[in-house]
């Protein structure tokens, strides 16, 4: 039984099935809502694919079964290698690399069974200790402390780009140009465009004393990007252009165009996001325990949980979201990650490797392992070389 389980033939068959399955998993849309799936496939096809678990292939029972079988195949192979005393020496490289695969699979199983993952959504000054699970029907994570979002910042590489399209309906010409606040632009037929100022989040209020309208930005976030321009045609006119409200090109009367036949359309392209950072505080019974900053690639760890900066809302500058993870499988995964290249390197370039791999690496590995690895002439036993069915 164990010989059959350890056979290379089983590995080849498993490998082929896994490759075909994984290709299917990348071609068939995964984890889509039922409505979207029905838009893509016919009802009969949906039924067949759904019954086969192909819409959630990588978490389906049969795919996990294949991985378990791969683990059993690898385990049996390792046991066979150790038990077969006739080989006299153990092929350490192969043993370590195959053990690494087992450790990685064990880590994956541990993660699948025990990991807690959720998304914590907060707004500035808001605190919470309940994290909804990332899995569709997963339990809510109840943190033994509260997480408060003290501050949130989005850095951009530039303040954004401004484009204006000018259309002359009477003469039938139009011109598009990128503009910068504080600069003049000359268009066709002596039309001059003077870009006066830019307000990222324009608000207007009436001054109670003077009774005049005052324009200002409520924040530096481009919630309501607006450009004030002066158009010198006949006559000269000052207008506000709104990227999000193109129909309101003038503050006072809401007219659609600067003149009867001259239309202006403003488009704002936000600057590319450089980084987004959250200042978070860990509280217990209203007492501050820790304050820290977290950003993408710089997670924050506390109480066995790791907080990963994961999202922001371009419409709401106070919103920040975090992936909250507690995964006991990670140490196993990382152990496997260390063992796998080590095993492969010994296997390929060690003393017992194929004769073509001579050289410095082999010499170094020989020095390290020579006291532990009994010497033999070949990396594979004689009958193995002939094609016996053992990995």
């Amino acid at each position: 039984m164990i010989k059959k389980l350890a056979s290379l033939q089983l590995f080849f068959i498993l490998s082929l099935i896994l490759i075909v399955s994984m290709i299917s998993g990348t071609l068939i849309p995964q984890n889509l809502p039922a409505e979207k799936v029905q838009q893509i496939f016919s009802p009969s096809m949906v039924k067949i694919l759904s019954n086969l678990g192909l819409f959630n292939l990588f978490h389906s029972a049969w795919f996990i079964g294949l991985l378990v079988l791969l683990g059993l195949n690898t385990s049996a192979c390792i046991l066979m290698r150790i038990q077969e005393k006739k080989y006299k020496s153990l092929p350490w490289g192969a043993l370590i690399s195959h053990t690494a695969i087992l450790v990685i699979l064990a880590g994956g199983v541990t993660s699948a069974l025990l990991a807690e993952k959720g998304v914590l959504e907060l707004r500035v000054k808001e605190a919470n200790c309940c994290v909804p699970s990332s899995a569709s029907n997963g339990p809510t994570i109840h943190l033994p402390f509260q997480v408060r979002l003290a501050d949130f910042n989005i850095d951009t590489y530039s303040s954004g780009q401004h484009f204006i399209q000018v259309k002359n309906l009477k003469e039938g010409w139009s011109e598009s140009l990128e503009v910068e606040p504080g600069k003049d632009y000359f268009l066709k037929k002596s039309v001059k465009l003077n870009v006066l100022r830019y307000e990222p989040d324009l608000r207007v209020e009436k001054d109670s004393a003077s009774g005049e309208w005052r324009a200002y930005s409520a924040s530096s976030f481009p919630n309501n990007p607006a450009l004030q321009v002066e158009v010198t045609a006949s006559p000269t006119k000052r207008v506000w252009l709104f990227a999000k409200f193109p129909e309101l090109s003038h503050l006072s009367n809401g007219a659609n165009s600067v003149e009867k036949h001259l239309d202006l359309l403003y488009q704002y392209v936000p600057g590319k996001i450089k980084q987004f950072k959250s200042k978070i505080e860990i509280l217990k019974e209203s007492q501050l325990l820790v304050a820290a900053e977290t950003s993408v690639n710089h997670p924050f760890k506390f109480g066995g949980y790791t907080f990963y900066q994961s999202g922001y809302n371009p419409e709401d500058p106070t919103y920040s979201s975090f992936q909250v993870v507690k995964d006991p499988g990670v140490p196993l995964i990382y152990a496997g990650f260390i063992l796998l290249p080590l095993g492969l390197t010994i296997s390929f370039y060690g003393k017992k490797s194929h004769p073509v791999y001579s050289g410095k690496i082999r010499n170094i590995l020989t020095k390290i392992f020579s006291s532990k690895i009994p010497m033999s002439n070949s990396s594979f036993p004689k009958d193995f070389k002939k094609g016996e069915d053992n990995a």
């Binding site: 290379l8 590995f11 080849f12 490998s15 082929l16 896994l18 490759i19 994984m22 290709i23 998993g25 990348t26 071609l27 995964q30 990588f58 994956g108 993952k117 590489y157 590319k272 996001i273 450089k274 980084q275 987004f276 950003s295 993408v296 690639n297 997670p299 790791t306 990963y308 994961s310 992936q323 909250v324 993870v325 995964d327 990670v330 995964i333 990382y334 990650f337 796998l340 290249p341 492969l344 390197t345 390929f348 194929h354 073509v356 791999y357 001579s358 050289g359 594979f380 193995f384 070389k385 002939k386 094609g387 016996e388 069915d389 053992n390 990995a391």
Partner: protein, 269 residues
């Protein structure tokens, strides 16, 4: 610098192909050495270009298709020189000298594809602002470059030595295929691992079954099977050449196909 480096490399690879071509027709061996010299020139200019781009952008130039292709071309040349030196010093002859023609042609095609992409130095998105970028992309690209050489070696093997298994050059090319697949497999493994560790530090998930990840694993399984077949079932020479060709087709899909046809976490690459 963009245009100079690109045009120079392109022209030099063309000259290299020309030298190898004339050498093949006239049977004058020294022209192969001239062809090799042209590849060395292109290699040096590409290296300077990568350094210039690195200093200009303040990050390792590996963040998009154009940059990774430039790195790949450079690595293919580097590995070609390494294996040329290694196998020549072992055999005391130069059985891989003619491979330079195919290395030049392959590099020329890659540069052509690179030219279709945006060459400007772009600012990095938050997820890519990490030292893992350098480690992950470099190791993966060494793997791809190694598989590319195994593909070129396999092509030559199947065309020239399929029926001449006993020839010395046939041994050299079979050895090249094995060594490059082994090196590529090792670096692909390390690259996938580094990418996984990076994903865990950026998003808290070491594996998401993203199309790029999945296709990398498909590539890994394919080459693992190929190496097992070679070691245990004696699939050497012609059979291993076919495996190398098929493996590189999978690599190409993982590298290009996934980016353009399937959406996922690596869509920017």
């Amino acid at each position: 610098m963009h245009s100079f480096a690109f045009n120079f490399s392109f022209a030099v690879y063309l000259l290299s192909i020309l030298s190898y071509g004339i050498s093949y027709i006239t049977k004058k061996k020294f022209l192969e050495w001239i062809g090799l010299t042209f590849i060395i020139w292109a290699f040096i200019v590409e290296m300077l270009y990568i350094i210039w781009r690195w200093s200009g952008g303040n990050y390792a130039p590996m963040s998009n298709m154009y940059e990774s292709l430039t790195l790949l071309v450079w690595l293919v040349s580097l590995l070609y020189f390494s294996f040329l030196y290694k196998i020549s010093s072992e055999t005391k002859r130069f059985p891989l000298l003619g491979l330079g023609f195919w290395v030049s042609l392959f590099s020329l095609v890659l540069l052509g594809i690179a030219s279709l992409n945006d060459r400007s130095i772009q600012s990095l998105m938050p997820a890519l602002q990490s030292n893992w970028l350098l480690l992950h992309v470099t190791t993966i690209m060494i793997g791809y470059a190694s598989f590319a050489l195994s593909f070129l070696g396999a092509g030559i093997y199947l065309v020239c030595f399929r029926k001449k298994v006993e020839e010395e050059k046939s041994y050299a090319f079979d050895g090249l295929m094995e060594r490059t697949v082994v090196l590529g497999f090792l670096f692909l493994t390390i690259g996938i691992i580094l990418g996984s560790v990076w994903a865990n530090s950026a998003w808290g998930s070491y594996w998401s079954w993203d199309p790029k990840e999945t296709w990398s694993l498909i590539t890994w399984f394919f080459y693992a099977t190929a190496l097992h077949l070679r070691k245990s079932r004696n699939w050497k020479n012609e059979k291993f050449a076919w495996l190398s060709l098929a493996g590189f087709i999978i690599v190409l899909f993982t590298y290009f196909g996934v980016n353009y046809l399937l959406s996922g976490l690596h869509s920017y690459a």
